[in-house]
Amino acid sequence: MQLPVINNAASEAPKGGCSAGSCGSTDDQMNHLPEHIRQKVFNHPCYSEEAHHYFARMHVAVAPACNIQCNYCNRKYDCANESRPGVVSELHHPDQAVKKVLAVAATIPQMTVLGIAGPGDPLANPERTFSTFSQLAEQAPDIKLCVSTNGLSLPEHVEELSKHNIDHVTITINCVDPDVGAQIYPWIFWKNKRIKGREGAAILIEQQQKGLEMLVAKGILVKVNSVMIPGVNDKHLEEVSKIVKSKGAFLHNVMPLISEAEHGTYYGLTGQRGPTHDELQALQDACAGDMNMMRHCRQCRADAVGLLGEDRGAEFTMDKIEQMDINYPEAMKMRAEVHAAINEELESKRLAKEAKVQLVSIQGIQKKEVTRPVLMAVATKGGGVINEHFGHASEFLIYEASSEGVRFISHRKTIPYCEGGDTCGDGESALDVTIRELAGCEVVLCSKVGYEPWGPLEAAGIQPNGEHAMETIEEAILKVYEEMRVAGKLETKADEQQKVA
């Protein structure tokens, strides 16, 4: 049985399309996008599931002020070891930020995108944000610029955004109903007043929707972020997804609420829980019928640097940058070569995939066997291959294999079980955390897995597998799934499958 890979985002804007418009596959839904949009996103790590294995991004923290309060945010927070939105270790003035971007782009040629995402709201800091953008547009024209905003002051800045050639904007829209909004936003600052509760939420919602419409009218690409808050907006987000799609947003990113009490947020201190992996996936699947969904978001820091899932920010502190001697025009040539090589690799992957899909359609005449879906976890350092030791993984990518093919579901963070060398003393408890995070997965694929975690993993119903090191993730998953089918392991749990269906 040959199966297609159904969830690779359009890495090089492939032509053609999926006949099933709501099949939930990022790849197929990217195909619905007009050619000019696909060309804009194919090398954007945050927008393309495929590209994020190859291309890097960075944020500069030039925008500390905010004009609203969200119940999931604590403005006092600053931690070097935390990776989540709003957290930042070093604030920069625009000139410093520009210097940092040039240094990073020269050192990490895979970097394609510079974003401003806070820690406050970039458009509540228009001078700092636009000063950064205009300098970069001039000095580093090979870098894409994007901005993330809560939307409150978006309408008044759309014109300016279009002048700076910013073709990507993310708006965080958690609701379209002021009653829901009142449970998420305690206040906004609007026309020189602090406006609390439902009234404030209503203004915010109106501005967000107006800003979205204006950006789309200008031809600026809009992604919508939503934070899934169980019991607050979880039921409501399908409606949000429908509305923003109908208004022209090209991608919806439903992210889980982060609400650990130690972060000191309202939600954290009042016991509001975040969604489970299953709840998040169910909502993303429900929204996918109407929307191109994003599932590989790492909810990164406001000063993140590097590939998604890694953070190289510590290499680029201001004192280190001051000592770097950057010749950017020279770096730009090297960057162009690196980008061309990546594009070539992605193109050859795409052709191989297309050939496989054709083979499947030929075989499709034969009776298709319906087998139950299986979740598999993968340890990878990037590049789309299985190349991470089980014990070194700080995150696992979760894929679903089914008779429909393979699709990417999400990523799950964990504590590396083994830091390597002699530092495995704490292994036991970290392994427990990993096993808990991998709940629901039946297989974990990694480049290598030690004897010690093998038993506990099997006992938890997760089959460790180190036989596919350096293989392409999707192909390895298909092989393992086929092995399971031959071994008769896909016939069980039929009741469960019906329940899911």
């Binding site: 500390p64 002020a65 905010c66 004009n67 309060q69 119940n71 403005r75 006092k76 604030l91 406050g120 509540a124 800091n125 001078e127 700092r128 305690p186 206040w187 600052f189 020189n192 007043k193 602090r194 309202y266 201190l269 009042t270």
Partner: protein
């Protein structure tokens, strides 16, 4: 008549551009208000702008030394949770 910024300020820059009398300035370890310039926005705005956008409860005091945004007033976090 002047407001004061105290050490709980997180240097978020929200207040500085809003001040109609340019009384707020960047300083270490936190932003400060020049008492000779601060008018509490009288004549310019109904509400003192710095205290109206400040996200940190208790970071801005009035001339009597009382918090313009007392604990719990901005986040809605119950006081017993704040103390914990």
């Amino acid at each position: 008549m002047a407001l004061e910024i105290i050490e709980s300020c997180v240097n978020c820059w929200a207040c500085e551009p809003l001040c109609p009398s340019k009384a707020i300035y960047e300083a270490k370890p936190h932003f400060l208000i020049d008492p000779n310039k601060c008018t509490e926005c009288a004549g310019d705005f109904e509400d003192p702008q710095c205290a109206t956008i400040c996200p940190i409860e208790g970071a801005i005091l009035n001339e009597d030394g009382d918090a313009m945004n007392p604990p719990g007033s901005l986040t809605g976090i119950p006081l017993q949770k704040l103390a914990a």
